[in-house]
Symmetry: D2
Subunit: 409 residues, 4 copies
Amino acid sequence: MPETLIKVDLKQSPYENEKVHNRWHPDIPMACWVNPGDDFVIETYDWTGGYIKNNDCADDVRDVDLTTVHFLSGPVGVKGAEPGDLLVVDLLDIGAKSDSLWGFNGFFSKKNGGGFLTEHFPHAQKTIWDFHGLYTTSRHVPNVKFAGLIHPGLIGCLPDRKMLEIWNRREVDFIATQPDRVPPLANPPFAKTAHAGAARGDLKAKIAAEGARTVPPREHGGNCDIKDLSRGSKIYFPVYVDGAGLSVGDLHFSQGDGEITFCGAIEMAGWVHMKVDLIKDGMAKYGIKNPIFRPSPITPTYNDYLIFEGISVDEYGKQYYLDVHVAYRQACLNAIEYLTKFGYSRAQAYAILGTAPVQGHISGVVDIPNACATLWLPTQIFDFDIRPGASGPVRAVTPGIEVPLSPDL
Amino acid sequence: MPETLIKVDLKQSPYENEKVHNRWHPDIPMACWVNPGDDFVIETYDWTGGYIKNNDCADDVRDVDLTTVHFLSGPVGVKGAEPGDLLVVDLLDIGAKSDSLWGFNGFFSKKNGGGFLTEHFPHAQKTIWDFHGLYTTSRHVPNVKFAGLIHPGLIGCLPDRKMLEIWNRREVDFIATQPDRVPPLANPPFAKTAHAGAARGDLKAKIAAEGARTVPPREHGGNCDIKDLSRGSKIYFPVYVDGAGLSVGDLHFSQGDGEITFCGAIEMAGWVHMKVDLIKDGMAKYGIKNPIFRPSPITPTYNDYLIFEGISVDEYGKQYYLDVHVAYRQACLNAIEYLTKFGYSRAQAYAILGTAPVQGHISGVVDIPNACATLWLPTQIFDFDIRPGASGPVRAVTPGIEVPLSPDL
Amino acid sequence: MPETLIKVDLKQSPYENEKVHNRWHPDIPMACWVNPGDDFVIETYDWTGGYIKNNDCADDVRDVDLTTVHFLSGPVGVKGAEPGDLLVVDLLDIGAKSDSLWGFNGFFSKKNGGGFLTEHFPHAQKTIWDFHGLYTTSRHVPNVKFAGLIHPGLIGCLPDRKMLEIWNRREVDFIATQPDRVPPLANPPFAKTAHAGAARGDLKAKIAAEGARTVPPREHGGNCDIKDLSRGSKIYFPVYVDGAGLSVGDLHFSQGDGEITFCGAIEMAGWVHMKVDLIKDGMAKYGIKNPIFRPSPITPTYNDYLIFEGISVDEYGKQYYLDVHVAYRQACLNAIEYLTKFGYSRAQAYAILGTAPVQGHISGVVDIPNACATLWLPTQIFDFDIRPGASGPVRAVTPGIEVPLSPDL
Amino acid sequence: MPETLIKVDLKQSPYENEKVHNRWHPDIPMACWVNPGDDFVIETYDWTGGYIKNNDCADDVRDVDLTTVHFLSGPVGVKGAEPGDLLVVDLLDIGAKSDSLWGFNGFFSKKNGGGFLTEHFPHAQKTIWDFHGLYTTSRHVPNVKFAGLIHPGLIGCLPDRKMLEIWNRREVDFIATQPDRVPPLANPPFAKTAHAGAARGDLKAKIAAEGARTVPPREHGGNCDIKDLSRGSKIYFPVYVDGAGLSVGDLHFSQGDGEITFCGAIEMAGWVHMKVDLIKDGMAKYGIKNPIFRPSPITPTYNDYLIFEGISVDEYGKQYYLDVHVAYRQACLNAIEYLTKFGYSRAQAYAILGTAPVQGHISGVVDIPNACATLWLPTQIFDFDIRPGASGPVRAVTPGIEVPLSPDL
């Protein structure tokens, strides 16, 4: 039975757990060490460290302090790993904590992070999803059930000092181009809420002052939120520091491509069973800058889709140049509009797109001026027929169910 | 046996074929009429109308006049179709013309259209792909073979006058924001090379003057270049004019998500066997603005992928805000770099990404400031093992094969 | 464009076509020769040589002379092929003849061949299936439509003399164990209706007298009726004679595992585009006795099934010992019974199991005394929901449609 | 968190656990009761109740007393279930016991049960498989690794008295036709080793005397050993007694179609998380005699196969009439022979066919006198290329590894 190297107690603050951290910095002390070839288990908090509760009120989503996230478990030191190596990680299995068989999806208030469709969903909202073995359902989103495509939203190795400096300079300079923007263009280091793992004293202060925030995906991987980097997959991570320093967190029971609701996927506390190995000097051998991976042979096999197209003209008629972001937003809005015809509220439809194994494809990206993106909605997750027909849509969705909403204070 | 309603002769100029046109305009005369429930065959030119030849020289790709494209077959009038209906199109089958069992993929010169990676591939290049039943191979790209995911790059119904005016105003205004850009931001109406089908005299002149160019995808579908809108799929198109006016062209034997090389996919002349039907008032019933579709049950089943990540920091280190276009470009560049380690030239690698059934996913699009896009490269299309291993890549690609290149004059 | 090496004219008797034969014998003259690496097209009759007609009467199924079948196109000689080699055949594509876009499925009379469920369907019946591009439907079996899994029912190389003698002795001896059985245990050589290709005079007489019948699958492959040996697959055939002598026929637009109706699949005339190559001495190198193959990447992706179990106790309560044949028959009878609850006649249900891409699995074969077989019925081929529910089955099948039946005379 | 209604302690004899039984009989007391709509967890022993150990010696496989098997957990009573209903069981998840992350596969001695290929493997042999999250590997079978298709080999409801009598009479009469056969034709009731759950005294004696053995699959399902009845699937079971009485056991981490090694699959102790519901009077409504089920959306997606054909002529040249059992045996022998060319021992190859997600199809079953069966070997489970090539097989299998064998005493 594999050893659990890092444990988390959901009743304890993550700040009290020395094997947890919430910033990226080369000097974060290794939480534990393993050998190449070892397999082991790492437990993790949900990304907010337990702030969001299993209830029917979205106040917590509205009020969460986003400078505290994401709480990661690690770093795990791998003996013999050196800069330039590839760290090969097998995600052997992932699951929810057995005392926490539920997850949450939320829309942030536009004033506190926002999201992909924040103009359309400006207020904090929350849905709770219960896990039934391989499946999930929500008391806030009726008539839909699907198998989980369980994955970590966030996983990667520690940056070295040079990489950290590139990140901080790049993002701080970027913020400076629109310093008053809400939400901001990026998140700079922020010492007050930093958690530096086992670091103490001056070292802790240094990490807090310099540590890169965990929000964006970067060269090392990090918060990629790739739904297909799921249990069963094999990942090749760039190594920047001796020992690699692998950290993981932000587990998702399921997510649609884009994680469009931002708070985001079906977020859960859980555990990751993984195995590590090394390809010495693999970055140069294979020309690797960002992680690459092979997907799992165990993924939901839904294959009947209704596919929505979107182009890079926004909902107000404004033209953008080959902008896939805008195109995908239109595809999402089209799907939401469609689902309302069957009785879903717009918030329920948005929650489905954020949580179900929806695919988002970059379909055409050269036909000036319009990019074309497609959103693939699996039809087999609904307990009624959502396909178009000559007689028009049937309002099959159970009425009277709402997605909790908490207006800004 | 279904009737062939529109025939094309590849030895004849498309301008001489009255059932072909290359602009969108409500007044293009219907090329033929069918009833709901009918199935029939439409032949098409390749998108350039036969300009690109099956040879080992890229001069034609360099010199092609892009104001002439795309040559579409149609419009097919559907009796009883009215504005607001959905035209249901079953793509029953699609194939290459039996006297033309090959296709081309090209990179345009940066001075003549460019492409997704035009900074890296500034010159005209061309690869020829031969069709062997369900499969294709190229004499310019060794060690790769795949089954076709055959689809029309371009299909849709005629716009009405109001829609046409929106398009023209939107795009002309957009060009005006950077009028001297190369390549331009968009393509305005251009009378000289317009082909208005069977229209003559004043009507022809009017269509030529006002007709929207066929380059971008728009509300009606059009040049979506969605690889999964393939033979066997079922599409629901908005109808804007009486009779719908369905046109199709730009057939692809195969394409990767994004059609990143622009000239683009494996382009071919061929035929489409389709069936049409109507959902009366379907646009309102289902809240449809852009087409939606269901994919085919007959698609290549490659499911072992090597997946490359990209983030919205460009290859020069510049930061972009949640820009999926930039992120996907990085994923593509990462894949190209990787493939060169096995012996492919960069041009060969680029051609593979443009033509093979590569997936491009919008993986994360909310983690400021970085979007994360993934490129899924099917490993099963190569005749050697492209997966990473401890011993490093083997240079298995047949050496000495070049992608023809024609420098700008 | 690949050359058509063997053509068939559906208006001409197959006996008049010298490149067609209906027996296996080493001395059948090669119909044509190719080189390893060549690809080419072979046209074929339907297995009965055009006897079954596209009409609504089953008299032809009742009256067909089964000593005439199967009409095969070939043999194709492959230069350099020697006994002990493996002939590698790529089925590049397969299709129906363009002047014959339909196929038939039938149940033979118990007095003329019978079938898997002949006790339950003792009379000749027939269904006609029309091809709509990739799809098929039948005017005799409503509410069902599916994509074709097109394959040759019969393909293989000529036996050598030794192999032929083994076959004839084995089967003639077997018949002798129950000489009066109806239907017989096997079919011995039968000179009267033999077609020996281009052979003439004594040679023809010898082939007619000795030639093995084409009915059963044997060591060389032959009439395997494997639905997954479909277009796009790659097969490795044992070679017994110089030149290999590859013949093919009995094309099926689609078939369920077992080809349970015997006449059988959706039978059609058509063409095969194939490529041949050699693995010298491959039989010994790989220990090959029967053909092996790799399936196609282009197959229908239906993956939601209703699975019926059967055990080796027959419908009269009789116990059999690990008899998969009996178990599969029970699974089939269970599925037929189930489908009648939605309004299908038993004959329609039987026709669906014989023609649709139904899977038949040998699920358990060691738990004495009962074998367990499973029949997998794809739910996505029906235009209504066939899954069980609390409210019971809805009789959604269009009433009033019959499967033509012709009683024995 | 779902309640665990039945617990097993692997250190305790299953005979001491009142919620376990090893015979089928209507009077076995319900171990617990649930309501329709409930979900809950049931733990189970491995089928031998812990007799087979995780070591490198096959003595236990040789010596196991097969009259003791299978140890099932249950029966679970479902309130409101009545004869004629369908019990709908959702297999929400299944796993190994966390203190027992391994399983075994064995070949029984011909004198103690035998197996599908017992003539070729007459002695007891055993392989141990370790579980690594979703995957398994064996120290006795190198170079192969696959994801589990986890399922219960045995699940079903209690028979009523009438059904029990049919079973006993049918099988006892069958044994009487060859009473001295080794192995026997079937297994009659056997009181000495019966475990009647919580029954005591006369009731226990009655159950022991009359209880049907658990070996074969029967009308109620039972020991079907269907690999696709896996976690995530939904099953509809016939109900014969008030309360239904659902029992489950014989969990498999993975199995090939046929479970050909008999001891059999990768056998493990574990737990089943399931949900139950009812379709009242469902047997008549849907014409159900045997269970039916829908497969899981979470199954290994291996889809590149090497397919071996077999016909109903046995390895000694003897002809059988449409005997799928014989045909499948030939396909298996062909696959074993093939695998030895890469360096596997015959026992290792046999173990792979028994444990990996191999498919066994009933391909053709009407072409007298030969049935054709196919064995589908997934190529993606090997860490080397097992496909045929011009240069012949490479002996890639790690040499020097043996499958433990214990000769008969």
